[in-house]
C-alpha cells in the first residue's frame, strides 16, 4: 500500500497509457510526463509568488496581499489575468524577432532542466548518464536569453542590465559547476539518479547526505551562493536592480512576455533548488531511516519548499551588492574556496574511513574560510587626501 502510494504517479501514467495501442505507449508516456512538469511547476510558481509577497511582507511587518480570495491565495490568478489582458508593447526600434524569442528561450531552457531531475523514486523523465552536464548546458542557455532580451530592446537600461547579468551569470556559473563537481568526484557518476541513490543509505538512522560531510557542507554553501546569483535573486539581483535600471533586461517587456520572464525566473529558482537538494540533500530520500515510508516525492517537494523559503528569507534580509563587490566576491572568495573544496573532496575520497579525515578536511576548509574572509574584508587604510598645488 505504502509502496503504491510512493509510486502513485508512475502507476497513474502506466494506467493512462495502457489505453493506447502498443506502438504509441512510449511517446504518450513521455508527453504525459512533460505535460505534468509543465503543469506542476507553473502552479508552484504561482504559489511561490504569493508565499514570497506574504513572507517578505511579514518580515517588513506588513500583511502582504490579502484581498483576492482567502488570505490572498488567489492573488496569482488576478496577476495572471492582468498580465494576459495587458497590451503587448514592442519598441519600434527593437529587433522584433529576437525580442519575441527571448522570453520563449528563457522559459524553454528552464523547463528543459526538469527533464533530468529525479523528483521521486523512479520519477525522472530521462535517466541520462550525463544528466548533470545536460542540466548545466540548459542553465547556461538562460544567459543567452537574458542577453537576447537586453540587446534586442535597444534600451540603455535593458542593455546595462543584460551586460550585468552576463558578467554575473558567467562568473557564478563557474562556481556552480565547480561546487557540483566535488559531488561527481565522490559519486563517480554524472547521472542524477545515481547521485541520489548513493546518498539514499542510512547508518545509525541518519542518511548519507553529502551535506553532512565537510566538503559537502562547504560545497552546499558555495552552491547556494552561486544558485542565488544564477537565478538573479536578491542580494545578487543587480541585472534587474529596480532602483538603478528600471527593471534591467526586461524593461521593455510588458504583458504576457513579461509574465514569461517572471515565470522563467521563478521556475529557474525551483529548478536550481531541486538540483541543489538532489546533489547535497539526498534528493527524494528521507532525512531519517524511520521516515522512509513517507512517499519519496513528498520529500523532494518538501526540500524544494524549504529552499524557496530560504530564498525568500534571504531576499527579505540582504541589501543588493555593488557590481565590484559581486565580482570580487565571485573571483576572490567563492572561486578559490571551490577549488580548495575540490582538493578536500579528493582528500576525503582517498583518506579512507575514520575520524582523521573529518578533522583534516574540516580544518582545511575552516582555515581557508577564515583566512580568505579576513583577507577579503580587510579595508585599505587610506589617509586623508592631500592636495599639492603647483607653485
Amino acid at each position: 500500500m505504502i509502496e503504491r502510494f510512493d509510486q502513485i504517479f508512475i502507476l497513474l501514467k502506466h494506467w493512462l497509457v495502457g489505453y493506447l495501442p502498443e506502438s504509441w505507449q512510449t511517446v504518450a508516456g513521455v508527453v504525459l510526463c512533460v505535460v505534468a512538469i509543465v503543469a506542476v511547476y507553473p502552479a508552484l510558481f504561482a504559489l511561490t509568488t504569493v508565499l514570497e509577497r506574504k513572507g517578505v511582507g511579514r518580515i517588513q511587518n506588513r500583511l502582504g496581499p490579502n484581498r483576492v480570495g482567502p488570505y490572498g491565495i488567489l492573488q496569482p490568478m488576478a496577476d495572471a489575468i492582468k498580465s494576459l489582458t495587458k497590451e503587448d508593447i514592442v519598441p519600434t526600434t527593437a529587433d522584433g524577432v529576437v525580442h519575441f524569442l527571448a522570453p520563449i528561450a528563457q522559459v524553454v531552457t528552464v523547463f528543459m532542466g526538469f527533464a533530468v531531475l529525479p523528483m521521486g523514486r523512479n520519477m525522472v523523465l530521462v535517466d541520462m548518464d550525463a544528466a548533470l552536464l545536460f542540466y548545466f548546458a540548459m542553465g547556461a542557455s538562460a544567459e543567452l536569453s537574458v542577453f537576447m532580451a537586453g540587446w534586442s530592446s535597444r534600451n540603455k537600461y535593458s542593455l546595462l542590465g543584460a551586460m550585468r547579468a552576463v558578467a554575473q551569470m558567467i562568473s557564478y556559473e563557474i562556481v556552480l559547476l565547480l561546487s557540483s563537481v566535488s559531488v561527481v568526484m565522490i559519486t563517480g557518476s554524472l547521472s542524477l539518479v545515481k547521485i541520489v541513490e548513493s546518498q539514499n543509505q542510512y547508518s545509525h538512522g541518519l542518511p548519507h547526505w553529502y551535506i553532512f560531510t565537510p566538503w559537502g557542507f562547504a560545497g552546499f554553501l558555495l552552491y547556494a551562493i552561486a544558485a542565488t546569483a544564477e537565478t538573479n535573486r536578491s542580494p545578487f539581483d543587480l541585472p534587474e536592480g529596480e532602483s538603478e535600471l528600471v527593471a534591467g533586461y526586461h524593461t521593455e517587456y510588458s504583458g504576457f512576455k513579461f509574465a514569461l520572464f517572471f515565470l522563467g525566473e521563478y521556475v529557474a529558482m525551483l529548478s536550481i533548488s531541486g538540483l541543489g537538494s538532489t546533489l547535497f540533500l539526498g534528493g527524494w530520500s528521507a532525512p531519517f531511516s524511520f521516515l522512509t515510508w513517507v512517499p519519496s516525492w513528498i520529500w523532494f517537494f518538501g526540500k524544494l519548499f524549504v529552499s524557496i523559503c530560504v530564498f525568500i528569507w534571504l531576499r527579505g534580509t540582504l541589501p543588493r551588492l555593488r557590481q565590484d563587490q559581486l565580482m570580487n566576491f565571485a573571483w576572490k572568495f567563492v572561486l578559490p574556496m571551490c577549488l580548495l573544496n575540490l582538493f578536500v573532496a579528493a582528500l576525503w575520497r582517498f583518506m579512507g574511513e575514520g575520524w582523521l579525515r573529518w578533522v583534516v578536511c574540516s580544518a582545511i576548509l575552516a582555515l581557508a574560510y577564515v583566512g580568505l574572509g579576513w583577507e577579503g574584508m580587510k579595508r585599505k587604510q587610506i589617509g586623508r587626501r592631500s592636495y599639492r598645488y603647483a607653485d
Binding site: 511579514r58 518580515i59 511587518n61 506588513r62 528569507w313 534580509t317 540582504l318 577564515v370
Partner: protein, 213 residues
Amino acid sequence: MLGEGILKGLAETAKNFAGSYVSKERLTTVEYPEEREPLPEASRNFPFLVYDGADWEKGLRCVACQICEKECPPKCIYIEKSKDKKPDHVGKLQIYPARFDIDISVCMSCQICVEVCPFEAIKMNTEFELATDDRFGGLLLDRKELARSNEYYHQIHPTEAAEVDARLAEEKAKVEAKAKAAAEAAAAKAAAAPAQAPTAAPAAKPAEGEPKP
C-alpha cells in the same frame, strides 16, 4: 568573521517575521476600508459652509462678502451675490450667496478662507473620500454640497466649534444689548415728546397706501 553580519540580519528578519504574528505593536497595518483610525481633531481637507438651524438655505452664515474669494491663493472659490436680503444669525438683514462654488481640484487646503472669514461661515471639513468619475463637475462643489450643519461642525472639531459658538453668542448678546439700549433710548425719547408721534403716523399712512381710482 565573514558571514557574521548575514547571520545577525537573518536572525533579525526572522524575529520580525515571527513577531508580526504575535505582537500587535509590530504589525501596525490598518486595513483601511474596513478599519479606520479616528481622525485627529485638527485634521482638515477642504472647506465647507456652516449653517444654523434645520434648513440649510435659510441658515447659511455666509453673507457673500467675498473676502474669502479674494484671499484664496489658488482662486478656487466663486461667489455670486444675491439681489434680495434676509436676516442673519443676529437678525440683521444681509445679502446671501446665490452661488458659492469651490473647485476642490484646485483647492490646496491652506485654510486662509477660514482665517479671513469675519462671520465664522466657512470651516475646514475632514471628509477625504471625494473621489469621483466626473473630473470637472464632480469636483466642483456648489453651496448645497458645501453646506453642513453646526452640529456636524461640533462633531468634527468640538473644541474649535465651542469657541466659535461662544464668540458668536457674545457678539449676539452685545448686539442685543445695544438694540435694547437703543430701544430704551428711543422709548425715552418717545416719552419725552409724546405729542408729536401720534400726529405724524396717521399723516404718513394714507399717503403711502392710497389707491388710485
